[in-house]
Symmetry: C2
Subunit: 432 residues, 2 copies
C-alpha cells in the first residue's frame, strides 16, 4: 500500500499558499525522498465565503476543532502568524498528539518553552525552522550538524527590510527617511515599519537563535534592542572611510566570564567579515564554534517560496518520525539556565561621532574625558565643517564596558566645547 502522511495547514495567506504550491509542484521528489506522500487533508481559512480558486482541489474549513478531532491528521502546519489564536491552536494540536510545524517567530519567541513542553509530554515534534531566516537552514544545523561544538557566538542579519535599507543608504549615499519611503513604495517595508526598523522583529529571532545555540532559554525581555532609525548618511560615510559596513545584527555571545549576552543593534562590521558582503533583502547567520571555527548560512530571509522550503522540510522531518513512530530525536535542548549579562556589563568597541567647537586643544580635552572613564581610543578623525566654527570628531574606541562608554558620553555632553554627541554605534572587532 502507498504510504501517506496526512497534514492540515492553518492559514491560506502568502506562506500558506506558497507551502501548498511547493507540496503540489514537488510532490514527486518529496515522495521519493521521504518514501511516503504528503497529503493535505484540510486547510483552515478565516472565512469560507472568500473565493479561493487556487485552493479548489482542497477541503477547506473555518473550524479548527474539525482538524483537531481528525485522527488521520498527524501534522498540523501553523502559518497564520501572530500569537492569538495561533499559540492555542498549536498547544491543542500537540495535546492531541499531532506534530506541529510553524513559521511563527512571535509565538516561538514568547511561548517556546510551553510549546516544547507540550510536544515532549505528548511524544510528538515541534519544529520551527522557518521562524528564523526564512528558507535558510539554521535551526536544524544548529541542533544537528553543529551539535559537537560549544557555540561561543552567533551573529545574524535576520531582517531583510533593514538590510535592504542599510544597503541602499550605502550604495546611494542616501539618508534614512528617503530610503524608508522607497522601501515602502517597493513593498520591502510596511506602512508602519516599527517592528523592522526598531529591531523588534530581529530581537525575536535573536532570542530563538541564542536559546538554541547556548542551550538556555532566552526570552524577548532578555534581548537589548536598538534600531536603525538614528543611522545617517554621514555615519555610513565614516564607516566606509574606516573600512566598515553598517549592518543591523542579532548578536548572541556566550563567555564563561560574562555569561550570555543577547542584543540587536546596528554594528560597524569590518568589510572583510563574511556578513559584510550580505546585501539587500538577503539574510545570513554567522556561527562561531570551538571545533568548526567560523561558519555562515546565507539565503533569502523571507518570501512565500523560500519560507515554504523550510516549512515543507520540517513537514518531511515530522513525517519521518510519524512513519517510524520515533519522536523527540531532537528534543528541547534548553537544559541549562545561564545568567544573562546586564547590558551595562557587555563589552564592545564603539564609534562615537561628536560635533565640537573648532578650537585648538579640543581633541586633547575629549581624549582626556574618554580616558577618565577608562575608555581608550583606537583611532580619531577630525574634520572641519564649513559652517559656524564647528568641527566633527569621529572616535573609535578599544573594547570597553557599556557603562564606561555611557559615563564618558555623559561627561562629554557636559563639556562646553562639545555641542552634540551625534551618534554612538558599536564596532564589531573580529579577532583574526
Amino acid at each position: 500500500m502507498k504510504k501517506e502522511i496526512k497534514i492540515a495547514i492553518l492559514g491560506a495567506g502568502t506562506v500558506g499558499g506558497g507551502t501548498v504550491k511547493v507540496l503540489r509542484d514537488n510532490a514527486e521528489v518529496i515522495e521519493k525522498r521521504l518514501g511516503a506522500g504528503i497529503v493535505i487533508k484540510k486547510i483552515l481559512v478565516r472565512s469560507l465565503k472568500k473565493e479561493r480558486s487556487e485552493l479548489k482541489e482542497f477541503s477547506l474549513t473555518d473550524d479548527f476543532a474539525e482538524i483537531l478531532r481528525d485522527e488521520e491528521i498527524s501534522v498540523v502546519v501553523e502559518l497564520m502568524g501572530g500569537v492569538d489564536p495561533a499559540k492555542d491552536y498549536m498547544l491543542q494540536a500537540l495535546r492531541a498528539k499531532k506534530s506541529v510545524v510553524t513559521a511563527n517567530k512571535d509565538a516561538v519567541a514568547a511561548f517556546g518553552k510551553e510549546l516544547f513542553a507540550a510536544a515532549e509530554e505528548n511524544g510528538v515534534d515541534f519544529l520551527f525552522e522557518a521562524s528564523v531566516g526564512g528558507g535558510i537552514p539554521i535551526i536544524a544545523p544548529l541542533k544537528t550538524s553543529l551539535a559537537a561544538n560549544k557555540i561561543t557566538e552567533i551573529m545574524g542579519i535576520v531582517n531583510g527590510t533593514t538590510n535592504y535599507m542599510l544597503t541602499k543608504m550605502s550604495d546611494d549615499n542616501a539618508d534614512y527617511a528617503e530610503v524608508l519611503s522607497e522601501a515602502q513604495r517597493k513593498g520591502y517595508a510596511e506602512a508602519d515599519p516599527t517592528a523592522d526598523v526598531e529591531g523588534l522583529d530581529a530581537a525575536r529571532k535573536a532570542a530563538i537563535l541564542a536559546s538554541i545555540a547556548f542551550n538556555t532559554r532566552v526570552s524577548l525581555d532578555d534581548v537589548f534592542v536598538e534600531g536603525i532609525t538614528k543611522i545617517t548618511a554621514a555615519d555610513i560615510d565614516y564607516a566606509k572611510e574606516l573600512g566598515f559596513a553598517v549592518k543591523l545584527l542579532a548578536i548572541g555571545k556566550n563567555s564563561p566570564e560574562y555569561g550570555i549576552d543577547v542584543r540587536v543593534h546596528p554594528v560597524f562590521l569590518p568589510q572583510s567579515h563574511p556578513l559584510a558582503a550580505v546585501n539587500g533583502v538577503f539574510n545570513a547567520i554567522f556561527v562561531r564554534g570551538d571545533a568548526i571555527g567560523k561558519a555562515m548560512f546565507y539565503g533569502p530571509g523571507a518570501g512565500a517560496f523560500p519560507t515554504a522550503s523550510a516549512v515543507v522540510s520540517d513537514i518531511m522531518e515530522a513525517a519521518r518520525d510519524h512513519l517510524t513512530q520515533n519522536f523527540g530525536r531532537l528534543h528541547c535542548t534548553c537544559y541549562e539556565s545561564k545568567k544573562i549579562c546586564p547590558i551595562e556589563e557587555t563589552v564592545s568597541s564603539y564609534y562615537v561621532r561628536l560635533l565640537v567647537s573648532d578650537k585648538p586643544g579640543v581633541l586633547g580635552t575629549i581624549a582626556t574625558t574618554f580616558g577618565h572613564s577608562e575608555v581608550s581610543l583606537k583611532s580619531v578623525i577630525q574634520t572641519r565643517k564649513a559652517s559656524a566654527g564647528l568641527a566633527e570628531i569621529v572616535a573609535v574606541t578599544h573594547a570597553v564596558k557599556h557603562k564606561n562608554i555611557l559615563e564618558a558620553l555623559d561627561n562629554l555632553r557636559s563639556l562646553t566645547t562639545v555641542k552634540e554627541v551625534q551618534n554612538t554605534i558599536r564596532v564589531e572587532n573580529t579577532d583574526e
Copy 2:
C-alpha cells in the same frame, strides 16, 4: 542507568586526533544534547609501537577484526583516508551491523553505491558529512533542510589549497608558480600538488554533491575536470577589469533540456556573486533550488577540528538511531538514473585571450571567425603590447555550446594574424 553509545575510531592521524579531542573536550555538551554519552571503546592504529601519549587513556589496537567482533561497538568511524583498506573495513563494519561514519571523499566518490547498499541491507547508517567542505554542514542540509526543493544548480569552492592560491594571485598580482611555492612553504599545498591544482580533489566532491543534489549516481568518471595550472596573473588582471573574480568551482547543473552536467574548472564569477567573496582557505557551497532560490553554506573546508565537528555530528546522528533502534531515516536518495550531458554539449560563456598581430582589421577577422561557429561576442578588449607589433585581444562570449567554442578556437589558430590562443576560461553568468 547512564546511556552510552560505544564507538571505534579507525586512524589516529590529524582528523582522528581532532575527533578524539572534540569527543573528550565537549563530552558534557554532547551527552546533554544527545541524551547519551559517546564512549571511544577502541582506536585502530597502524602500529602499536609508536609512542602516543595523547591517546594513553584509550584502548588501542592494530587488529581491525577485534573491532569487528566487538558487539558493544555500534558505530565505526573511518578516518584512515585512501581507498585501501578503508573501503573494505567500512563494508565489513556495515555487514556486522555497525553504522559507519567517514570523512573519506575518495572512498565515497568511488564506492558510494556499494557502501550505501551495504548500509541499507544491514539496516544501519552510512554518514559522510565530513567528506565535502570539511566542517561545513552541506550533506545533511541537502538531504533534509532543502529536501522540499528541486535543486537546479550546486556550485562550490571545495578545495582550500586552490582557493588560497587564486586569492593570493589576485591580492598580490602574483603568478601561479610563485604562489604555489609559497603555499607549499606554508603547508597549504602538498609537495606533489597535483590532486589539488589539477582539480581531482574537487572532482570527487563534485561527484558526491551532484549525486545528492540530483538524486542520481554521479561517479568520478562523469566529471569533466580542468585545473588552475594555466591561470596567469594576466588572466586575473583582466578578470578584475571585467568585474569578475577567478575561482575553481565544482559545478553541478540539472536542466530538463541537457540533463546532468558536472564539472570542475576555473570560472570567471561576477564580483556580486556570494561565492566571489569567499577567500583564502575557506570553502563555500552555493545551492539553487526551485523553492528556496539561492542559498550558500560557508566555513572552513579542512583542518583537524572543523573536520572533527562534522565527524562528531555524524557520530551523534548515528547514535540517535542506535538509541532508538530506528535506522535508514535518510536512506540513499539516488533513486534516479539521469543522463549525463557530454561536455561538448554543455553551455557556457567564455573568456578568450588571444595574442594577435597589431594590424587594422584583425578584430573584424576574429569576430567573423567566432561568428562562423555561431559564437557571438558580448565584449571585447584590445590592448597594445609594446613588443614586436603584437596586441592582446580579450573577448567574452555569450552562452554557447562547448563544441562551438572548440571549433571557433581551432579556426582562430589557423589564422596567420592569430599568434596564440593564450587562455580560455568559462564565465559564469548569474541571471539576476
